[in-house]
Every structure is written in C-alpha cells, then in structure tokens.
C-alpha cells in the first residue's frame, strides 16, 4: 500500500513540474515548449520505446527459447556472454553508432533501442526456461506430453515471471535511453532536453525530463502489475517467501 502512495506522490510531483514549466511560456528570450509539443513529444517517446520493445519481445523470446534446446545449446554461453558485454557499452556510444550507420532519425533510434532491449530479454528467457526443475519436465514427459505440450503447458508458464521481469527492466531502461535518442533527431522528449542543454535553460530541460521520468515510473508500475498477474497463483507464495 505504501508503495502506491509513494508512486502517486512521485507522479504528482513530476506532472506538477511539467505543468509548471509549460505554464512559464518564456524564460528570458527563450520560448518554452507548448503543451501540444510536450504531449506530442511524450507520445513520440512512448512510440519509440514501444516499437523497440515489441520487436525485442518478438525476436528475443524465440531466440532465448531456441538456445535452451539441445541443438542450439552450444550457442548459449556465447550469447549470454554477449548479452552481458552488450550491457556495458555506453548508451550514448550505442545510439551514436546506430545514427552513423543508419542515418539520423527515428529508425536508427528504434534499432538501437531494440538491440539494447533484446539482450536482457534473451537472457531472461534463457534463464527462466533453464530454471524449470528437471524433475518437473521429466514427469511431464513420462506422463506422455509431447515436446510442444511440455514447452507450452509447463516450461513457458513456469518461466513467464522471469521473462516478464526482463521485459520490464529493459522497458524502464529504454525510456531513459530514448531521451538520448533525441540527439540523433528521433524526436521524443529528448528533443526538449537537448534544446534545454543547448541554451542552458534548466526549466526547459525539466520540461522534457519530468514527463520522461513519469513515463518510466508508470510503465514500471504497469509491467510490475502484469508480472504479478501473469505469475501462476501457485508460484506467488514461494517467490515472496
């Protein structure tokens, strides 16, 4: 309960800051973003993150699944290693590289964020599927479930909480990363922040940063809810205890 109180307080403050900054109209000779511009930027921001995340889920989960299968298992140490190393590359460098390689704009940002989200999703899918107890799979096989029935009725339901945790982490991280994408002209709240930095107007930076933070917090809470909702009831108790 206390969690929600803090959450709503924080959201309230962030929205307050956004509205206040927008209401200023001008700071010195600089004009603040209009309400429409803030709203459009927020939606654009969300669009970049959501597109990248959706692609990462569509491609990451099947890859994570394949590397747990016998024929591809040899790839898994390489892939997990790659995922860990990939996370250490600075976001800024990553987006810069994408911008140079693909040309500035929306596509480059989505591709960069997609790759960035892909690795934790693969890693968590792999870890979740590997954590299914072998005796549970053996019992399933011994009772006559086909390979696909075991995957769909046993392995994925048991791995689901871990997979969703991966999606949640990568989404929240990417809301932050997407702000950097403003640098390569992808639009989104990064635009406001970048212009704020360029003209050294703190209020303008806040006008972009506050809604981005609010977005991250909201998505985190929503996906947290989804995580609990999709955790099989019989496993919730053990996970807390």
């Amino acid at each position: 309960m206390r969690r929600y109180v803090i959450l709503f307080l924080l959201l309230g403050v962030l929205c307050g800051v956004t509205i206040w900054a927008t209401s200023l109209g001008t700071v010195g000779i600089f004009r603040m973003a209009t309400p429409t511009k803030v709203l459009k930027s927020t939606l654009r921001h969300l669009q970049i993150v959501a597109t990248a995340e959706a692609l990462a889920i569509l491609i990451g989960i099947p890859i994570g699944f394949l590397v747990t299968r016998r024929f591809f298992r040899f790839v898994s140490p390489v892939l997990v290693g790659l995922a860990n190393v990939g996370q250490t590359i600075p976001t800024l460098a990553f987006i810069g590289i994408a911008g140079v390689a693909l040309g500035l704009g929306y596509t480059a940002a989505v591709v960069a964020l997609f790759v960035y989200a892909l690795l934790p999703i693969i890693r968590n899918t792999y870890a979740g599927l590997r954590s299914v107890p072998p005796e549970v799979k053996e019992a399933a096989r011994g009772m006559g479930m086909s390979a696909w029935q075991i995957v769909l009725r046993v392995e994925f339901p048991l791995a689901r909480p871990v997979i969703i945790a991966g999606i949640r982490t990568s989404t929240v991280v990417n809301v932050g990363t997407a702000a950097v994408a403003g640098m390569i002209g992808a639009g989104g709240l990064g635009d406001l922040i970048m212009s704020g930095i360029a003209v050294r107007v703190t209020q303008l930076i806040l006008q972009g940063a506050a809604p981005a933070a609010a977005l991250a917090i909201t998505l985190d809470a929503l996906l947290g809810g989804v995580e609990t909702w999709l955790t099989p009831r019989g496993m919730r108790r053990t996970q807390r205890g």
Binding site: P134, V136, A139, A140, G142, M143, G144
Partner: protein, 393 residues
C-alpha cells in the same frame, strides 16, 4: 504383463548400463528392481516407457512391442511416479492429478471426479486439497498427490522410481502401508525401483536384484532371503537374517482371531461375566457395523458405567499387510501389549501378541541354525574332498 527380452543399454561412451536383461512381470504383480546405485535399475525402468531408448532387445507390454507404439500414447497408458515427484507448481492439485486425463481429452467433469476419487484413495480430503497448489502441501502430501497423479489415467501399469525416497522414515512407512492397501484394491502391474532392501521386501511380490547392469536374481522375497543365489546376493541381504525374516511375514500370516469380542452397546455386567468365563483379561470392542473401537479390560469394568465410557481407544492398529517387524514396534505403543489388526474399513480381523511373534522368531531361529549347520557340513565335506584330491596328485 510386461516382458523384457535381452534388453541392453549401451551409452555412446561405451559404458553398458544394462546388460542382456530378460524378465517378466505378470498381470497384477508388484515387481521391485533392487540394487545399489548405478546398477541399472532406473535405466531399466525408463526403457519400459521409452524415456530411454533401448540399444538392443525388445520390451513387450501385453505382447505388443513397445517400439511399435507412439511413445506419447504408450506413456499415457503407463502411470509414472518419480522420487522428485515433479508436481507442476503452477497447477492445482486437481489439475496435476488430471494431467493424463486432460491429455486423453476426457471431459472437464470427468477430470474433476477422477481427481476427487483419487484424492480420497490416497487419503487426502478432496474438499480441503483439490484446489490447493503444490507449494501449499507438506512433503508427504505432495507425495500422495504424486501417487494419485500416476493413477490419473487409470493405467493398468505403474512405473515408480523411488517414489518414497525423499521423505522422512515415518511418513515413508505410512505411505508404503497405504500404497499396499491401494494395490490390494487396484491390482495394478507395478515396476518399482528402490535401493532399500526393507522397502523391497515389504512391497514386492517379486524382486529383481541387479548389479552392474546385470540381473543377479529374480525371485519372490522369501526365496531371495532364504536361498540367495550367490555371495553378492547374500552380502546385499545382510547378516541378521532372523530379524529380517520378520519382515517377510505379514500380520495376516500369523494373526489370531480375537478371543473375546463385544459390542459397545453390551451390558457391562454381562461383559464381565463373559470375560470371567473365558479367562481373558481383555476384550475387543466394536460397534454394530464391526468397526473396531478399542479395548476393554476386566479390571476397569464397573457395573454403573457403560462399555463406551470405559473402553480404551486404540493408539495404533496394524493392517493385514503390515510386516511383523513393524507390528512389533507398533505393539510397544499399544495399551495392553496386543495389537489389533483391522482392514481398510477398520473392521477388526485379528490380533497379534508378543507370544505369537516369539513363536515365529523361535521357529525362524531354529530353521537358520539347521541351515548354518548344513552349510558348515557342506563346507567341511568340500574341504575334505579337496584334501583327498591334493594328496592324490
């Protein structure tokens, strides 16, 4: 009926897990694969439902070669229980038990009623347990659900791989007893893997003793204990054969009829008269339906008090299938040093006393003495003939 013909399992590395194993398990028979770890017993079991493919040889179930069936269809008709239980943590007890019924596409109502019936059978109150999750059950309760689940599709054959291996000895004992009672009722064809000799002797109709992938002896428990085929079997069975012999006998083999039985509604003074007349210090009390309620002793009978008020409820009872070594330890917990034997419906079927057990032990000790003497004599003769041969050369 299960028939193994020259079954061999060789792994790519060249190790042979099972070598030329041939044996037959008859309809309704409880067969134990027994042996030290690494003897190939689990591998043999898993080849029956094709979890492990054979290297050579054939396995028949009711004269049909298992290789000619779809493995999943084959497995759905063979109950399977393992030491780790492997209950599905994300499914309720009912859904776990109905795993095979669901695979066989039985109706929802039938799945539910199967789960209810099987919970009842394994001694778990359906209303309490049916909608729980495995994480909400104790280890013993999970094991019971595991047994219920392997019976789910009503298979004629059960394969059980140390199903009671991972639980404490007291619970294990109770589960063994209950499972024997269930088997008395269901008459499944069972292959049961264990490394525990006590469990093998208690549960099995037939024991296949294995070592290094080879079948050393395949016989009923009595034969295995009394006529071990070679030194390995003898060593595995151990030295204290007299006490172990108690395990071979079941309560039903030696129990006596209750000497004096009364009903709980009987008049106390009449009961007193009957006890005096028979010379017994106690009587067994049942209700009109034959259900065993407890004991009554002559000393405690008072004219004013009804039988129901004076009776001593039984702390423990044995079943007809309880081995005598367990009956002996139960007896120490009985109020009057005598153990009532009751059937599944708690009707009394007999009594066991120290005197009865002493007679059994005495008889076995005498048999063993004679056997040891005979062995010594044979050994002496053998060495004598060796000597004559030696001097002749």
């Amino acid at each position: 009926m299960i028939r193994l013909e020259s079954v061999t399992k060789t792994y790519p590395g060249g190790t042979t897990a099972v070598k030329d194993l041939s044996l037959e398990v008859k309809q309704g028979e409880f067969c134990i694969f027994l042996g030290p770890s690494g003897c190939g017993k689990t591998t043999s079991l898993k080849m029956i439902n094709r979890l492990i493919p054979l290297s050579s040889g054939r396995i028949f179930i009711d004269d049909v070669d298992t290789m000619q069936q779809d493995p999943n269809v084959l497995r759905r008709n063979i109950g399977y229980a393992i030491q780790g239980i492997g209950l599905f943590p994300h499914l309720t007890v009912a859904e776990n038990i109905a795993t095979v019924p669901k695979l066989k596409k039985w109706s929802k109502e039938k799945q539910r009623s199967v789960a209810e019936d099987l919970l009842e059978l394994v001694g778990l109150e359906p209303d309490t347990f049916i909608d729980r999750y495995p994480s909400e059950l104790s280890g013993g309760q999970q094991q019971r659900v595991g047994v219920a689940r392997c019976l789910g599709g009503n298979p004629p054959i059960l394969l059980m791989d140390e199903p009671f291996g991972a639980i404490d000895p007291i619970t294990r004992n109770r589960l063994q007893d209950e499972f024997l009672k269930i088997q008395d009722q269901l008459k499944k064809t069972i292959v049961f893997v264990t490394h525990d000799l006590n469990e093998a002797i208690k549960m099995g109709d037939k024991i296949a003793l294995m070592r290094n992938g080879e079948l050393m002896q395949y016989a009923d428990p009595t034969t295995l204990l009394n006529a071990p085929k070679d030194q390995f079997v003898r060593d595995f069975i151990g030295a204290d054969r007299v006490l172990k012999g108690l395990r071979l006998l079941r309560a039903r083999d030696v129990m006596q009829d209750p000497p004096v039985t009364i009903l709980d509604e009987d008049d106390p003074s009449e009961v007193k008269a009957r006890l005096d007349q028979s010379g017994m210090p106690w009587a067994m009390v049942s209700n009109a339906k034959g259900r065993f309620l407890g004991w009554i002793t002559a000393d405690e009978l008072e004219p004013g008090k009804s039988v129901r008020e004076t009776l001593i409820p039984p702390e423990v009872t044995a079943g007809p299938g309880t081995p005598l070594n367990e009956a002996l330890s139960l007896m120490f917990n009985s109020a009057i040093g005598t153990l009532a034997v009751t059937d599944r419906e708690e009707r009394m079927v007999g009594v066991l006393s120290f005197d009865i057990l002493r007679d059994v032990l005495g008889q076995q000790a005498a048999d063993l003495k004679a056997e040891v003497k005979a062995e010594a004599k044979a050994a002496a003769e053998a060495s004598a003939s060796n000597e004559t041969q030696g001097s002749g050369a």
